[in-house]
Symmetry: C2
Subunit: 331 residues, 2 copies
DNA sequence: AGAATTAATGGTATCGTTCACGGGAGTGAT
DNA sequence: ATCACTCCCGTGAACGATACCATTAATTCT
């Protein structure tokens, strides 16, 4: 049914396969007349062009691979939307793979993408060491969501990341400015690639203000983790604010705290991170640090296409996107 | 760098390309000795197998296409996770495409997937008429998220859908049972493929109870739409409950109502739909109808693989997944 | 008019695999 | 010693497209 090939069309139109190819690709070296004839025959036969074969012949792909830890996280979902837009504009397709926070899955995912000879990769990495091995595939790659560690500069690939140091700083400073003193951080800390900058900034600001940092460590960044910690938190009364790694955790925390009769923000103020679409619809609406997620996706994709379309040599860039403190009702 | 082919390995190992292929695919027709020799050479050369070429040669793909309207919607995100699991177990990859509610994008998306010769499709359709044209590609296809309309049975493809008729019925009955009388429905209605069953059930139950149905029509199914309607709603005091098409709308509505000083559930009760992961963490926690989203994804994928692996003939099945009313705090 | 250019097409190799054959070497049976 | 059979491996043809080079016919130039 869909097994129609150029040859079939060629036979029926009494021309060579070559001419058919030219006609279908709208190349100028075919007469208008035969072009039209071929096109109608193609339509009649129900021809669908075979991008696999073309990919093999041209040695290039119109697909980019995108690797995230979990597409259910609205942060990634929105970034993907950004990538989607610029890819769609270029007529490229997206191979989406979730790693579900497993390093081995990440490895396998990238391997698969390389095997499909994707034109390039956008990766939200789990850690930095592992990502360097992916250079072995020789694919254009943009790393997104995390800045290059000091000691690894310059990185051998482009990077797009939010300015987390500053974002976290503003958040914590805002808490202090509004009179909070016993501020906890809830999230992953130094070991985590994306957690580190926020945690470090938090510690910095706290110490500058002569305050003691305190950590509620989570094992993943879901709402459930936030909830779990909120419910299990023993010395709740010691806190008057929490800065959460992301909005999901903040939501979970908020729920737990309200269940336990803590008033937000009166007893405990709460600041999230990401500014997920949803943050403005909760009650109270979540104060949070906005990451321009769609922009991040777009920039990553744009950078990637620049590499794909030629500039292998150009030194790698690290693009830092400004964050913005969005003050709503929880702090 | 990644341009190493079977030929390169063959040359270096002094065997034929064929033998290399056999070795790398771990076929029995190669001696253990040469197999190992070839494998180490492959590793040395940094060989990465080319799945595009293989796909062309074997005439089969290890990719399925998944078409949803917006992966940012947590409903789809969770379904995709379900699909992901069974695909990953089978070593298949997913081509994810968003239609963003545009029928022409849906058409184009499917076309592209067909051009890549994916092994099969899982589609969350925008409407029913259009989906029938996709048969022309002759691909195994599972339609998910919406039941077959009465007049279109039997459908020429497998279908997996939640039992929306019953889900909506339970929700509205619960509202009535708890003393609500002026119950509004907020969502898309008959024109919408997924909206229709919920709306119809709602109307049915209302009329059975001698109540008048009332519609707050939305143009898309986002939280923002819910919010907008909540804020713009003139005769708010006429209502004592809302049954929302999905959780997102419910969230938006809830926010708007609280902003306007309406107490939930005291003044207005609220029931959502889907039971998005997030629903249990809002305050008040959302009463909603659970769709087994991951299961839905898994079933769709399983059904698809059954088709792919052989059974073209078997009559198409329509699998209906039970929903469950989850009573929390908003109703 | 002859040469040079251009337009439209065809032939053939190629991309990197897999697959259906075929064949030689070795083993065991008759 | 012949036959049958298994074990390994190579040859050559796909798969469906594109690309380079060649060819013919028509057109333009001098």
């Amino acid at each position: 049914m869909a097994g129609v090939t150029l040859r079939d069309i060629a036979r029926k139109a009494n021309v060579s396969v070559n001419t058919v190819s030219r006609a279908l690709n709208d190349k100028p070296e075919v007469s208008q007349q035969t072009k039209e004839r071929i096109l109608t025959i193609a339509r009649e036969l129900g021809y669908t062009r075979n991008l696999v074969a073309r990919g093999l012949a041209t040695q290039q792909s119109h697909v980019i691979g995108v690797v995230v830890s979990d597409n259910v996280n609205p942060y990634f979902a929105e970034v993907i939307r950004g990538i989607s837009f610029v890819a769609q504009a270029k007529q490229w397709t997206i191979f989406l793979v979730n790693t579900y926070l497993s390093r081995s899955t990440e490895r396998a995912a990238i391997e698969t993408l390389a095997q499909y000879r994707v034109g390039g990769l956008i990766v939200f990495p789990l850690d930095w060491d592992q990502i360097e091995e992916y250079r072995r595939y020789g694919l254009p790659m943009v790393v997104a969501g995390a800045r290059v560690p000091e000691d690894k500069r310059p990185a051998p690939f482009d990077v797009v990341a939010p300015d987390d140091r500053n974002g976290a700083r503003e958040a914590v400073e805002h808490l202090i400015r509004t009179g909070r003193r016993r501020i906890y951080y809830c999230g992953p800390h130094e070991d985590s690639l994306s957690g580190a900058p926020r945690w470090q900034s938090y510690v910095e600001v706290m110490e500058e203000a002569g305050l003691k940092p305190a950590l509620l460590p989570v094992s993943d960044v879901s709402a459930f983790e936030g909830y779990r910690h909120g419910m299990a938190w023993p010395d709740l009364e010691k806190a008057d604010a929490v800065f959460a790694f992301n909005d999901l955790i903040a939501f979970g925390l908020a729920r737990a705290l309200t269940e336990r009769g803590v008033r937000i923000p009166d007893d405990i103020a709460l600041i999230g991170y990401d500014d997920v679409e949803f943050a403005r619809y909760t009650s109270p609406a979540l104060t949070t640090v906005r990451i321009p997620k769609e922009t991040l996706g777009q920039q990553a994709a744009t950078l990637l296409f620049q590499r794909i379309e030629g500039d292998f040599r150009k030194p790698s860039v690290e693009k830092i996107l400004p964050t913005q403190l969005i003050i709503r009702e929880t702090a």
